[in-house]
Each structure stands twice: as structure tokens, then as C-alpha cells.
């Protein structure tokens, strides 16, 4: 395969993993985060410590990245999840920037110059496998009682509580799982670039992830998948407009959001069942139309006869 195309596919696959986690947190549990690049950074550096410093296989690096990001998110969650929506969002923003600045100033891991020489273990194959596993796990979760409880928290927190749902626990669960996904994405990114630098995990990255989730449609897994691929490819396709690239990117996103205010998929999923339902509705609509035409034909025939 063309190395350039493969590169973009790999980057969309990596974004997809981070976006899947954020899709659970934002789309299903209803919590906005602008600090997920921080969890990616934790994952990237932890995995690099395991593979580069300790010489362990990549699998251990990935597992460690998920676990480390999850633990940190649990600590952050304890401090911030009691906050209401917007305040939680601001707290995550602060956290993401704090992680970046700590790594910038910590010379042991390369500081702001970055950390080169990480083994190039990320391949398109292992990323695609992890993507599939990641999507299946989240899709299974949101259709279980645990997933429904998260959705209840998003819909109406007080009603969820009096329905016996421990809202704090389910928000924490969503946060920890999404952070683990971001950690894995960070590990994959580091082992694809073979170089990591705190600058890669700035607020811009966090915002990009949130944009993808909203673009795909809150509460839609297929939307997030399509969003991750489309919005990773888009800047590359827009290279033709040269220095206006990011302007065009911004305009394209705005245009799509105006056209589809609830996101690309607007909460719907692409599943065999939803297709069947769509076709059944189309068919019913056609039949009604045909029947009404028949009826009006009848009508006009009668009119002519009279």
C-alpha cells in the first residue's frame, strides 16, 4: 500500500481509539472533557518506558498505558466528578495542560525536546485489530444495564438517582474507561511516530477529539467511527488549498454542523436492525403514497363520471 495513505489510515485508527473512549464519556454519560490529550500523553510515556527503557514487548506497553491512564483518571475523577457539567469540563482542561507542562519540565523523559528512539511497533494490522476490539467492547457496554445507567445520568441525573442509579459511580466508570482508551491511543501514537513530545498532547489535540465526537453525533458509535476517519482524512485532502488548509477544515466542520446540527449520525447507529427498520419505513411510506394515489385516482374518476 502507498506509504502516505497507510500513514493516514494509521492515524485515523489511532484517533478512532481515543474517540471511542471519549464517545462513551461525552456521547453516553454526557460529560465533556477537554483534557483527554493528557491521558494520551500518560499512555504514550508509560508505554515508552515499558518498551524502550525496560525492553518489554509492545503488548505490555499497551496494557500499562491503559492501566496508568485509568488510575490517573480515577484520581482526577475523585477530585472533580462532584462538580457540575461545565465545571468538570474546565477541570479536565486544567488537568490536560498540567500534564503537558509537567512533561515539558521533567528532563528524565526528554523534557520539551521530546523523546526519540521509541520502537516502531504500531502497524496498520495491530491498530485495526485494536480498533475492532475497542468498538465491539463499547458497543456491547452501551447496550447493557451499565451503559443504560450512563445514558440515564446524561438524560436526567436526579431521576437516575431516585431510580437507584449511583450516578457518581457511573460517571467515574465512564471516565476511567475513556481514559484507558485514550492511554492506548497515546501508546500507539508514540510507537508509530517513534518520537514523543509534550507538544503533541496539547489542548488542540483534546479539542480535536471532542470535535470528532460531536461531529459524528453524540451518543452514536458509528458516528464517532465515521467522524474519526473523515476528520483525519479531511486535512490531508485539503492540502490542495495549501496554506488555507486549516481555514477550509474549520469551514467544512461548521458547514456540516449547520447542515446536521445533531451531528453526522444524530444519535442513530448503523446496524443491520436499523437498516431493516429504515427500509420497512420507506416501504410503508411508498405503500401509503401508492394507496393515496389510487384513492385520488378513484376520486377524479368519480368526478369525471358525474
Amino acid at each position: 500500500m502507498d506509504a502516505y495513505l497507510e500513514g493516514i489510515l494509521i492515524l485515523s485508527g489511532i484517533n478512532l481509539i481515543a474517540v471511542m473512549g471519549l464517545c462513551l464519556l461525552t456521547g453516553f454519560a454526557g460529560l465533556f472533557s477537554f483534557g483527554h490529550a493528557g491521558f494520551m500523553a500518560i499512555g504514550a510515556y508509560t508505554a515508552a518506558i515499558f518498551t524502550k527503557m525496560l525492553g518489554l514487548p509492545f503488548v505490555f506497553g499497551i496494557a500499562a498505558s491503559a492501566v496508568s491512564a485509568a488510575i490517573v483518571s480515577w484520581l482526577i475523577g475523585m477530585a472533580t466528578l462532584k462538580l457540575k457539567g461545565d465545571y468538570f469540563c474546565i477541570a479536565t482542561l486544567g488537568f490536560g495542560e498540567a500534564i503537558r507542562l509537567i512533561l515539558d519540565n521533567f528532563q528524565g523523559l526528554g523534557g520539551s525536546r521530546g523523546w526519540p528512539g521509541i520502537p516502531a511497533s504500531s502497524t496498520l494490522l495491530n491498530i485495526v485489530i485494536l480498533d475492532i476490539i475497542g468498538v465491539v467492547l463499547i458497543a456491547n457496554l452501551v447496550r447493557s444495564r451499565h451503559g443504560r445507567n450512563m445514558i440515564a445520568v446524561r438524560e436526567e441525573e436526579l431521576a437516575a438517582q431516585v431510580a437507584g442509579i449511583n450516578t457518581y459511580k457511573y460517571k467515574m466508570l465512564a471516565l476511567v474507561i475513556s481514559a484507558a482508551y485514550a492511554g492506548v491511543a497515546g501508546a500507539l501514537l508514540g510507537h508509530y511516530m517513534t518520537f514523543i513530545q509534550p507538544k503533541m498532547f496539547s489542548m488542540v489535540k483534546s479539542t480535536e477529539l471532542t470535535i470528532i465526537v460531536i461531529f459524528g453525533g453524540l451518543g452514536s458509535i458509528s458516528g464517532s467511527v465515521i467522524g474519526a476517519v473523515v476528520l483525519t482524512f479531511l486535512p490531508e485532502l485539503l492540502r490542495v488549498v495549501d496554506k488555507w488548509r486549516l481555514v477550509a477544515y474549520g469551514m467544512a466542520v461548521i458547514a456540516i454542523m449547520i447542515g446536521r446540527p445533531r451531528g453526522l449520525m444524530g444519535g442513530f447507529e448503523l446496524t443491520p436492525a436499523s437498516f431493516r427498520k429504515l427500509f420497512a419505513e420507506r416501504k410503508a411510506a411508498r405503500e401509503i403514497k401508492a394507496a393515496s394515489r389510487l384513492y385520488s385516482d378513484d376520486d377524479s374518476a368519480q368526478g369525471a363520471g358525474r
Partner: protein, 258 residues
Amino acid sequence: MSNILEIKGLTKRFGGLAAVDNVDFDVREGGITGLIGPNGAGKTTIFNLITGVYKVSSGNVFFRQKDITNTEPYLVADYGITRTFQNIRLFKNLNVFENVLTACHASAKYGLAESFLRLPRFRKEELALKKKAMDLLDYMGLADRKDAIANGLPYGLQRRLEITRALALDPKLLLLDEPAAGMNPDETEQLMKLIANIRDRFNLTVLVIEHHMDLVMGVCEHIVVLNFGKKLSEGRAEEIRGNKQVIEAYLGGEHAEC
């Protein structure tokens, strides 16, 4: 008959204002108790104190002799107390079936790993949950609306759905906050019958806040009257109907007439 709920010296202060002031009353197991009073009497505040939505300033709430004062709302629900809200709080963007299915969660025991991997216990318990939700919708006459989005339902059905969702938790004590608000006399009468039926069918105790006197007098075996956060009176419907203080609270005292 024993008391399922005992409220002793319950007080809630918001700053200098005592919204609920030293209120005592008991709710008998298996009965339908009414909680009435003019606007601002503290009825809904009492519901919020029982279910742990507000923190109690002083006093205690006992559920089956167990002190549940200041328990987290989700634990209160676990003990077997659920409620509806005066301003309906449904999971608005979910459909009718999903609203009830979500509330059925406590009937399943499968864990997180089992949901991630769709293990056999997950499948089995999910089927049972779906059946339970469907049975409830059938009983409450909402089965034909199961795919409708909750927010788009007519008002009366939204109230009905909220009661259905509360029943999905298998409560022992059901707290209804103005279930007949905004209903016409016909709908109110249907609701009265429904409340009595639900009580018998699910072996519940019901505590209901209501303004519609026909509903209160019609179904409640015991009535507690509040005014300005204090208990004014309690007793059987006939006793309350003839109580001078109660009439004064609702219609104004003789000296206030002009």
C-alpha cells in the same frame, strides 16, 4: 398494621426559613396516605428529605424501623422507596421502553466484564429485564407506545410513564408528587382507580401529594395536612373534611373574609 415509614421531628431550614418544621407522621404499611396542604406548605420538601435529595436539618426518617435519614438517593431507592416528580423528570430523549428498561437495572446482577463480552448470564438476564419492562408497559397500558420518544408523549401519558418507571424498581413504598396535576376530572378519576389497582397488584404502600380534593378524599385512607411547614392535622378523610383548621388553611379564616 405496622408502620412502613415513620417521620420524627423532621426539620429542614433554608437559611432562616424553616420549610419543614418539626413534622411527625407515620405511614401505615399497605395503605394509601395523602399529604395535602396549600402551596409552599413543604410537601415536596418532605419528599426530597425522605429520598435523600435534600439533607435533613434535624429529625429522623425511619423506613421499616431502620434509620434512613440523610441516605444517598440511590440507596434509598435500593431500600425500596421510589418517587415521581411534580415537574415530570423522564429520560426525555429515550423511548418509552428504554425509560422503563433502564429502571429495571436493579433486577439484574451481571457485572461489567459480562456486559463487555456478552457472556451467557448477560444474555439471560437481559431477556428477563426486557420481559419485565414489557409486562409493566402492558399492565400500565403503554405497550402500544413503547417506541415513542418520552418527550413527545401527551402529558397524561408522561405521568403514567413516570409511575411505570418507578414501579420497575419493585418499590415497597411509592411516593407520588401531584400525579393528577394538569389532569381533567375524568383523567383524575382514572388515575384514582389506577393508584388503588397498583397498590393491590404490587403490594405497595403509597404516599401521595395532591391538590385535587376528590382524588385525596377518594383514595386516601389516611390524610396528613401541612401548612407553613408544620403539621396542621391528620386523620381519616371524613375527619379532615370537617376540620375547622384545615378549612381555614385552604379557604382563609373568618377574620380574613372581607
